[in-house]
């Protein structure tokens, strides 16, 4: 298909590079530098989608971020991207896009029947319709809404593209490279400030690319080219195109999304697809420009109706005509500029001006060019279904209430201009309360909240001269506060055509007997009648009207609809717009991909992975790993075709029978040093610490102030003022913060220092009846007899020339030792233990066997100390000192904690001795009781007891001590299981604790 609407001698696309792409399966050509929108319009394609609610045909309305209609689905490099604005996405060779919101096709859309049923789709439709009966939700309402709604389909595949995050600091961030952005960036950069200039489009220059102006002795476009080239060459300036600053957050942090590869067929090596910039700026200049306002008339959503500024940009930037019989409908001079561009390119437009007798330089130029103009004229309604074919136009009375001389004229597009709305979104996000400016009928920023200033047309300055002067001065002023260089550049002279005042009229009345839909919000299909209805139904606050009608709630955030909506509410309510107020602007200003937000923190990169020094040995020996917090720990060591269950049973059995070794490097370790260390531990732990001798370890439990167990572990007195504390793997970081809190804020008088030593030591737990025999061979020069190194003893020793520390502590309940060496020797230690341990039938064991061993011993761990248990619940009351005070002690006497039937830890064995009890099961008296079945407690941990060769679980149940011996039921509704069980002591194996002392 040829590009019938492409002009030969105008535009900035690269005519030497033809690019082919497909839209809804059909092949088209465009040029490098085209957007999907400009390329399709060049091919005469205007129907690109269906509207959200009524499924009315949709074309193009704008030329950039403001586009409410042309939202497409894109296929790139075998990935799917929804929510793509055709006016922003550049074409590349092989690009595939398709329409959304239409089924089975854009030309024939079943949902368009909604258009004929629109009496059923009034404001608040969703609230009113999908209510009753509730059973309809699941089967009828929800599938219907899902089918009919949405802007495309997200890919369900893993996104293989790379997204990056970047942190940047600067003196001055400038958002937008139009005349005000360029001028202020130049002034600030020349004054030595570190500047970031962000432009959301591929081309810099903003309105300078399309307006007929001169700066200095150059055209606007030439001047912008010169300035941007110079800025790029300066080392204190970062210039970024395709980069949208979409959020203004606290303390002058702004976030920008840079589309690095979206315009390329494939992401290049070493480059991300998109990059999210977190920018902390000392000062911000918001130069985001303004967006043209639509005029409201019948069927103003028909494809071919678009903003006049967009039509001008399609001509001047892309060399594309949006129509060959254009109708320009305007209430200000901007429409004339578009008409002049049409005329200059050989097309005869007709201007309908709502004003009676305006005069200005621009209007004179249009007249001189021979353009036909009708004053006090309006478009009543667009005609044509899938594309504008004609328009009903009429003369409007001076009071703008009555229409006369209605006639139909042929046209193929209607370019509308209802004056300009400053883009104040970023200023508003920063907390700037805007004010309504009567002169321009729009809100502009008021008092700076953070370190931000708004300049140019975003600040309501609509002449270039004002804009350039303001921008040069502001750029100098804010930069000089920071640099104090006093280097002021001279401001160039500006030549532009003078314009005259706009007309406040914006909504064409309906002719008698007609009920044309007049749309305010084009993306959400909100019409004048919807707002009227909402007000009739009693909605007053603009925030409520917004939510009830969905005005301004679509992905375009009401960029084109907001003000007209406010105007309408204020007209009906007989208020002025500032009384109505506007709704809150929230980030993001434009849609941001989830990928960019997530960045590289996906999969394995979502958190750091910590490995012990013995990790490679584990890998070589078929360890299957498990995530333990941020650590990777061996879960079991697979032999042959073993399952997890078989392997962990073998490993645990070997500990009970011979000896096993387990990597315990991940345990948290904290050095506690200082003359007051003993006193500090005495306050932190529930038990007594003042009399612990040097060379001895003690098990301790620490509480939070609310009495709940925070962590447990052993702490060893290495020397007079030096303690080695261990914590659980999961709580290591919290415990350190907890200790620092008390030392720095509560008891600063205590002379104690704490520091994490977790990564300084590699640890191996050697457990089992053969462990002493093994130790004797590992440390031939050290006396490790029961007398010399008793239970809870500590010794420093020499491991084949390496200094080692031996702690006689046990988690498995067997005779056991923990050997620590400096991390760099970890692997050496491990290999020696395995090598020397061979004759004692040593086997490494993983976390699964570790769990089995501690569960059948009744040792508590994280699944019991789950943030709800007090020491009593975990049978740890023996560790709670009655004599001294400690953190959380006072809470233990609160009435809820002293109730006799508090839940307490017990053991649970299935009566059939074969059925494993799922963790999380409820313990109940009667499995057939009426729901909700009163539960006595829950199963916290389950294992296969290797001692007795049957399942065993720990549970925390009400009045646990007195339940021992009772026959109850474990119920798991999730697994649909009911298991008759007997309650036993939690100390299932070796209740007297003889083995650890052997």
């Amino acid at each position: 298909m040829s590009q019938d609407y492409r002009l030969d001698n105008i535009g900035m696309v690269n005519r030497n590079k033809k690019i082919s792409f497909t839209f809804n399966g059909k092949k088209y050509f465009g040029y490098e530098g085209d957007t999907i929108a400009s390329a399709l319009i060049a091919n005469g394609v205007h129907l690109v989608g269906r509207s959200f609610k009524y499924h009315r045909p949709r074309g193009f309305f704008g030329v950039g971020v403001d586009e409410p209609y042309a939202i497409l689905q894109l296929e790139r490099n075998n990935e799917r991207d929804p929510n793509i604005r055709a006016t922003e996405q550049e074409i590349f060779e092989g690009l595939e896009v398709k329409s959304v919101n239409c089924w089975p096709s854009v030309n024939f859309d079943i949902g368009a029947i909604n258009n004929f049923l629109k009496m059923f789709f009034p404001a608040g439709f969703y609230y009113k319709t999908f209510m009753w009966p509730p059973s309809f939700w699941y089967k009828i309402y929800e599938p219907f809404i899902r089918m009919a709604a949405g802007f495309g389909e997200a890919s369900i595949k893993h996104d293989k593209e790379r997204y990056e995050h970047k942190y940047e600091y600067c003196d001055l961030l400038i958002t937008g490279s139009g005349p005000s952005g360029l001028a202020s960036a130049y002034a600030a950069a020349k004054n030595g400030a570190r500047v970031i200039l962000a432009e959301d489009k591929p081309r810099y220059g903003g309105s300078l690319l399309t307006s007929d102006v001169n700066i200095g002795n150059q055209t606007g476009a030439e001047w912008s080219e010169k300035i941007i080239t110079e800025l790029k060459s300066m080392s204190n300036v970062i210039v970024k195109n395709r980069s949208q600053v979409f959020g203004y957050y606290d303390h002058n942090m702004l976030v920008m999304s840079e589309r690095i590869s979206d315009h390329l067929p494939k992401t290049q090596k070493y480059l991300p697809k998109q990059r999210l910039w977190y920018i902390r700026a000392k000062e911000v200049l918001i130069s985001s420009g303004s967006i043209e306002r639509p005029l409201v008339f019948g069927n103003n959503d028909t494809p071919g109706v678009m903003l006049s500024s967009a039509a001008k940009e399609y001509i001047k930037v892309y060399g594309v005509l949006v129509g060959k019989k254009p109708l320009i409908f305007t209430n200000n001079d901007s429409g004339y500029e578009t008409a002049i561009e049409f005329k200059k390119n050989g097309v005869n437009p007709l201007i309908l001006d709502t004003r009676k007798e305006p005069s200005s330089d621009i209007i004179t130029e249009a007249k001189n060019l021979g353009i036909e103009i009708k004053y006090s004229y309006v478009v009543v309604a667009a005609k044509g279904y899938k594309k504008v074919k004609s328009a009903d136009i009429a003369k409007i009375s001076d009071n703008k209430k009555d229409l006369s001389n209605i006639e139909n004229i042929e046209c193929d597009c209607i370019c509308v201009s209802g004056f300009w709305t400053p883009s104040i979104h970023l200023a508003s996000q920063s907390g700037n309360k805007s004010e309504f400016n009567e002169k321009i009928d729009a809100f502009i920023p008021k008092k700076s909240k953070q370190k931000e200033n708004t300049i140019g047309s975003a600040n309501g300055k609509f002449t270039l001269e004002e804009t350039i002067n303001e921008a040069f001065n502001k750029g100098y002023e804010v930069s000089n506060k920071i640099t104090e260089n006093n280097n002021k550049v001279s401001i160039p002279t500006v030549v532009e055509k003078k314009s005259t005042e706009h007309d406040k009229f914006w909504c064409v009345p309906l002719p008698k007997g007609k009920s044309y839909k007049r749309f305010l919000d084009f993306q959400n299909d909100v019409a004048v009648t919807d707002i009227e209805l909402a007000l009739r139904e009693g909605f007053r606050s603009i925030e409520h009207v917004k939510r009830y009608t969905t005005l301004g709630m679509a992905t375009d955030q009401g960029k084109t609809s907001n003000l007209n909506g406010l105007q309408l509410v204020s007209d009906i309510e007989n208020k002025v717009v500032p009384q109505v107020g506007h709704t809150t602007f929230r980030p993001p200003y434009t849609p941001v991909s989830i990928g960019a937000i997530v960045g590289r923190e996906v999969g394995k990169h979502s958190k750091p992975t910590r490995k012990s020094p013995m990790h490679q040995w584990h890998e070589k020996n078929n360890a299957v790993f498990v995530d333990a917090g941020v650590w990777l720990r061996p879960r079991y060591y697979k032999q042959g075709n073993e399952t997890l269950f078989e392997a962990s049973k073998r490993e645990a059995k070997n500990v009970r029978k011979n000896v096993g070794v387990c990597d315990v490097t991940t345990l948290g370790k904290i050095d506690v040093k200082g003359p007051d260390a003993a006193e500090f531990l005495n306050r932190v732990y529930t038990n007594a610490w003042l009399k612990l001798p040097v060379g001895k370890a003690r098990y301790g439990v620490m509480l939070r102030e609310d009495g709940i167990v925070m962590d447990d572990g052993t702490t060893t007195r290495i020397s007079e003022n030096h303690y080695h504390m261990t914590t659980t793997t999961a709580q290591a970081a919290n415990v350190l913060s907890h200790l620092e809190y008390y030392l720095q804020l509560v008891w600063p008088e205590l002379n104690v220092n704490v520091v994490s030593t977790t990564e300084q030591w590699a640890g191996a737990a050697i457990a089992g009846p053969n462990s002493r025999a093994l130790l004797m061979k590992l440390f031939p020069n050290t006396d490790v007899s029961n007398e010399a190194l008793p239970f809870m003893g500590y010794k420093e020793a020499d491991l084949f020339g390496i200094p080692a520390k031996i702690y006689r502590i046990s988690f498995s309940g067997e005779l056991a030792y923990e050997v620590n060496v400096e991390s760099d020797y970890g692997n050496f230690m491990w290999e020696k233990i395995i090598e020397v341990g061979k004759e004692f039938q040593i086997q490494p064991y993983g976390t699964e066997a570790l769990s089995t061993l501690r569960i059948e011993m009744g040792h508590v761990a994280g699944s019991e100390l789950d943030g709800r248990t007090i020491p009593y619940d975990a049978s740890l009351e023996g560790l709670v000192s009655k004599k001294k005070d400690f953190i959380g002690k006072r809470s233990l006497s609160r009435s809820a904690f002293t109730k006799p039937d508090r839940e307490k830890i017990v053991g649970v064995v299935p009566l059939d001795k074969t059925t494993s009890i799922p963790e999380g099961s409820y313990i109940v008296k009667d499995p057939k009781a009426k729901l909700p079945n009163p539960k006595l407690g829950h199963v916290s941990a389950s294992c296969w007891s290797v001692e007795y060769d049957n399942p065993f679980s720990l549970a925390i149940i009400k009045d646990g001590k007195n339940m021992i011996g009772q026959k109850l039921f474990a119920m798991s509704p999730l697994k649909n299981k009911t298991i008759p069980v007997e309650i036993v002591s939690s100390h299932y194996v070796d209740p007297e604790g003889k083995r650890v002392r052997a």
């Binding site: 942190y167 606290d250 902390r280 907390g431 609310d706 913060s737 720095q744």
Partner: protein, 89 residues
């Protein structure tokens, strides 16, 4: 994201810090009789003021010092920061 001035390290982004709650709460002294009500107030009862609030932040990814930050809870403006043992105004 807040920009917090650590009196030990200088201005750093919020993601280096952990929030620590109301800095004006004083832990009751050890070994002192205290009523249930007073103890409950200490453990659980916190004001949630709109406006100025003196609060604790822990510079966990920096110097590991607890600091006091005077912040407006509605605007996030930070007026002043103090070291743990510094007297506040």
């Amino acid at each position: 994201m807040l920009y917090i001035f650590c009196p030990h390290c200088g201005s750093r982004s919020q993601n280096e810090f952990a929030y620590g709650g109301d800095a004006t709460v004083k832990r009751p002294e050890l070994n002192k009789e205290i009523s249930d009500q007073d103890w409950d107030n200490f453990v659980y009862l916190r004001k949630s003021p709109r406006g100025k609030h003196l609060e604790l932040w822990h510079h966990i990814s920096g110097c590991r010092q607890w600091i006091k930050v005077e912040r407006d809870t509605s605007t996030h403006e930070i007026f002043k920061t103090y070291k743990a043992d510094e007297l506040t105004e």
